[in-house]
């Protein structure tokens, strides 16, 4: 008898195969697929631990093709972007990227994402939620054209300490001079690729933007060069651990888009999300500005606060109490951080807790030991974001490691 271990091509019910699907299938030992904007996207390929440590110690490849992408071009493109987001886009130079949020007229956050300025008149917006109709509303009356290029551009996130060295191995001359939030054009294996020094891990890393037809060529080149750099393909779960450490919020997990909430009080302002550093009130009118002006002098009724929890049990879905008795909030994302060696989380806390009252706060953690649930009260303390930040993230040129 002979045993065969040939990977079987997967057909994921109802989900589209992305540009890298053939290669993902070959790596996906767990066959744990999830739905990301209609694409079959791996939540974990091998084991979360291996994938997570590869992010922090080697380098990793994550397919970000399903992310929504919009091309905004034309004479008024800058004005449209500036009206859309809360940052002053006039200060964003061509060849640079900015992390942004945008609001509805009540000052509630619609979504967050990255704005790529490709030239004076060409922008690309990358985000989690579909935004086309919203963009069309914002752009109405301006000389600009907007198109959904989600399916026209394949994306790969190459993240980790050895990612720059890996790209240098591929002969990408000058990649080491690309600064954080910079964009540059390269060729890999004869295929054009736009590389931005951006990512969702809080570490050194790049995002590669490719024509779908060239997707597999570039994947193969990266995997080839990555053998000696410890390159590993990762899924969503490992990335989620890294992003919590890196201080990035996730729509639908940490907050809801103002356009998806059913209850008006479930939407959030930038002040509640701790994103006031993204708001420039003294720029020309942007969507939600007048509402924010009113809100800017007020104490937010609740706030999403980074917390550090004593002891080591992750506080998934935990409730937060003051003096162990008064319920004052809830945890959205939680993690025992393997790199920080800290028990970290984000929690919604009602005012004044987490704002002026920061002591005697407790999380109620449920943990199961052999089908017996236990309740533990663990003390927590508001902490500053991000939990993890490494100097190599912004070092130019980065070391090879």
């Amino acid at each position: 008898m002979t045993a065969t271990a040939e990977p079987v091509a997967q057909v994921v019910s109802g989900l589209k195969s992305g540009p890298f699907h053939d290669r993902l299938v070959a790596h996906n030992r767990q066959q744990a697929w999830m739905n990301w904007m209609g694409y079959a996207s791996p939540s974990v390929l091998d084991s979360v631990e291996f994938e997570y440590f590869a992010i922090r110690n080697q380098s990793t490849l994550f397919d970000i093709s399903p992310m929504c992408k919009y091309a905004i071009t034309g004479p008024d493109a800058e004005a449209v972007l500036n009206r859309l987001v809360t940052r002053d886009i006039r200060k964003l130079k061509p060849g640079r990227v900015a992390y942004c949020i945008w609001l509805d007229e009540d000052g509630q956050v619609v979504d967050d994402g990255t704005v790529f300025r490709l030239s004076e008149t060409e922008f690309r917006l990358c985000c989690q939620e579909p935004q086309l109709s919203w963009l069309e509303d914002i752009a109405w009356g301006f000389d600009v054209s907007i198109s959904d290029v989600t399916r026209d551009i394949a994306g790969l996130a190459l993240q980790g300490p050895t990612s720059c060295a890996l790209l240098k191995d591929l002969g990408l001359a000058g990649i080491e001079t690309l600064k954080t939030f910079g964009i540059a054009e390269f060729a890999i294996g004869g295929a054009d690729v736009t590389i931005s020094r951006t990512g969702f891990t809080g570490d050194l890393g790049y995002e590669l933007w490719i024509a779908p037809a060239d997707a597999l060529t570039i994947w193969d080149a990266l995997m080839g060069a990555g053998k000696l750099r410890g390159l590993r393909v990762i899924g969503y779960e490992a990335l989620d651990m890294a992003r919590i450490e890196a201080g990035f919020l996730l729509p639908k997990v940490d907050f809801l888009s103002a356009q998806t909430v059913l209850r008006p009080d479930r939407a959030n302002t930038p002040y509640e999300l701790g994103l006031e550093w993204l708001v420039t009130l003294d720029k020309p009118h942007f969507n939600g500005r007048r509402a924010l002006l009113d809100l800017s002098g007020q104490t937010p009724p609740r706030k999403l606060v980074a917390i550090e929890i004593e002891r080591d049990k992750p506080a998934h879905n935990a409730l937060v109490y003051h003096k162990k008795s008064r319920e004052v909030g809830m945890v959205t994302s939680a993690l025992w951080s393997p790199t920080c060696k800290r028990n970290i989380a984000y929690a919604w806390l009602d005012a004044p807790y987490g704002q002026s009252v920061t002591t005697d706060l407790w999380v109620e953690i449920y943990l199961q030991k052999e089908i017996r649930w236990q309740r533990r009260m663990a003390r927590c303390h508001p902490a500053s974001r991000p939990f993890f930040s490494h100097p190599r993230r912004t070092a130019t040129p980065p070391a090879d490691y």
Binding site: A79, R83, D104, E105, W134, D137, I138, W140, G141, F142, P284, H285, N287, G288, R289, R290
Partner: protein, 503 residues
């Protein structure tokens, strides 16, 4: 900047003049800028008036501005003659009728009295700012409370009846009460005139009550032609502005409302001249004011979307026929100066005309409102259900076709008219749009319907006259209470601006 004023009013329509007069009489240095060469907007053009029947200016405004009382007080209320192809025409003046069977006349009088009381209760809100949605001030709530009290004072039966019918259609109401025919036709015309609604459209009872809420010295729901006609009204208003120290300039189209630091800074004229003022009141339609003159870049996206989606497609074409002698009704009598002739022989005819317009076509037999201007030897006709977005567009051929079909309809009621016509002119909703800054060519700058009234007029988030850019106010027919020649939007907007100025 060439000059500096306390307030600029864009558009010298009657609402703009009322607002200007209010502000000037409170000591503000006021400038009225009118794009056209005449004052009075839709009722001011002596050559071709869009609104030839200006008979609903509120007496409160006449008193407040100190306008000559005889302007509205001494003329007779306007009679409506509704053409009946199958018998004698029906003449209506308030609750009084001529040409109906006595029992029908009595039923109608009872209905008219009841509707009049209900309209009067609703009319309390006409000179009040609409309450805010969510956060209404005490003053606004007082206005609403007064209306609620008036409604309650109608008594349980009538209040219940009002709530039953207010959102329903005029077809059902009139069929239940008086049956179809020329009388129902005349009432249904009043309920639908200017709007994109037929008698069967929900909400047409509300528009009928809205029209009946008008007020004159002769009583509630009765309208009068001002002595001296529309020109006298316009002159009285403009004299009031200038007497209080206000300036009026004609032939000065505004190109842009200037904004500085999110506040109104003045206007730029098409000539390039810039005039500074911290307060700008626009009598132009909301869409034109916000989308064109102000610019969407100063507004939130949702606000712009609601403005874009505002229903404001005009349905009325105006036709003037120059005639050698007074038109003669089939009965032998002549149409008197100031009388109103309705050619809408029944609700069915109106609904049929509306059917064509719904799908972008001209009705074969438009329903008409006509009046005879004896001084100018002119029959002024409003042809209802001629859509702004006509399939194929408003070409000269189409206008000629409309003119011919209108004349054919008129000929039935006024035999021999065709041969007496010496000249004719047609103004389509598109002409009204380009001529008067009324986006969509709508008489009332926006449909009078339940989702565009009170705190939703002109649209959600834009009620209460003040716009998101501080210092900019809407003072035209698009604002509450909207439409007609009441002067109430200009009156209310000026009061809102004055009140804000005190803070």
């Amino acid at each position: 900047m060439s000059a500096r004023y306390d307030a600029i009013i864009i558009g010298a329509g009657h609402n703009g003049l009322v607002a200007a007069a209010m502000l000037a009489r409170k000591g503000r240095k006021v400038l009225v800028l009118e794009a056209r060469d005449h004052l009075g907007g839709m009722l001011g053009d002596a050559d071709f008036r869009v609104a030839p029947l200006p008979y609903a200016l509120r007496p409160e405004i006449i008193r407040s501005l100190g306008l000559p009382a005889q302007l509205m007080g001494t003329s007779k209320p306007v009679e409506t003659i509704s053409f009946n192809p199958d018998g004698p025409s029906v003449t209506v003046l308030g609750a009084r009728t001529i040409g109906l069977a006595p029992e029908v006349a009595q039923t109608y009088a009872t209905l008219r009295a009841r509707l009049g009381r209900q309209a009067k209760a609703l009319g309390v809100m006409m000179l009040e700012p609409p309450p805010g949605l969510g956060k209404a001030s005490l003053g606004e709530m007082t206005g609403l409370a007064r209306m609620a009290l008036k409604m309650r004072l109608l008594g349980k039966t009538e209040m219940r009846d009002l709530l039953r019918i207010i959102l329903s259609n005029v077809w059902d109401l009139l069929n239940d009460e008086i049956g179809d025919g020329p009388l129902a036709g005349a009432l249904a015309m009043d309920a639908t005139l200017g709007g994109a609604m037929g008698p069967r459209s929900p909400g047409t009872v509300l528009t009928l009550l809205y029209r009946m809420a008008s007020h004159s010295a002769h009583g509630h729901g009765l309208r009068v032609m001002p002595e001296g006609g529309p020109d006298a009204l316009v002159k009285a208003l403009s004299d009031c502005v200038t007497a209080a120290g206000g300036e009026i300039r004609t032939g000065t189209p505004v190109e842009k409302i200037l904004v500085d630091q999110d506040k109104t800074a003045g206007v730029r004229l098409q000539s390039g001249e810039e005039i500074a003022a911290p307060l700008v009141l626009s009598n132009v339609s909301p869409k034109t004011t916000l989308m064109t003159l102000l610019g969407v870049e100063h507004l939130d996206g949702e606000f712009v979307r609601r403005c874009r989606n505002m229903a404001s497609k005009g349905m009325v074409s105006r036709l003037d026929f120059d005639i050698a002698q007074a038109p003669t009704l089939g009965s032998g009598s002549t149409l008197q100066n100031g009388q109103r002739l309705m050619i809408a022989p029944g609700m069915h005819a109106i609904e049929t005309a509306f059917n064509a317009a719904k799908y972008g076509d001209l009705p074969e037999r438009p329903v008409l409102e006509a009046s005879y201007d004896a001084a100018a030897n002119r029959l002024c006709v409003s042809a209802q259900f001629t859509p702004h977005d006509l399939t194929g567009g408003w070409t000269d051929d189409v206008k000629a076709r409309l003119s011919a079909s209108v004349l054919a309809v008129l000929e039935d009621a006024l035999p021999g008219l065709s041969s007496a016509v010496t000249a004719s002119r047609v103004m389509s909703p598109v002409d009204i749009e380009t001529g008067y800054g009324a986006a969509g060519g709508h008489w009332h700058h926006g449909e009078l319907r339940v989702d565009q009234l009170l705190m939703l007029r002109p649209f959600d988030g834009a009620a209460q006259y003040r716009m998101p850019v501080a210092g900019l106010y809407l003072c035209g027919a698009g604002a509450h209470p909207g439409g007609d020649i009441s002067g109430a939007p200009g009156f209310n907007a000026a009061r809102a601006a004055l009140r804000d100025g005190r803070n």
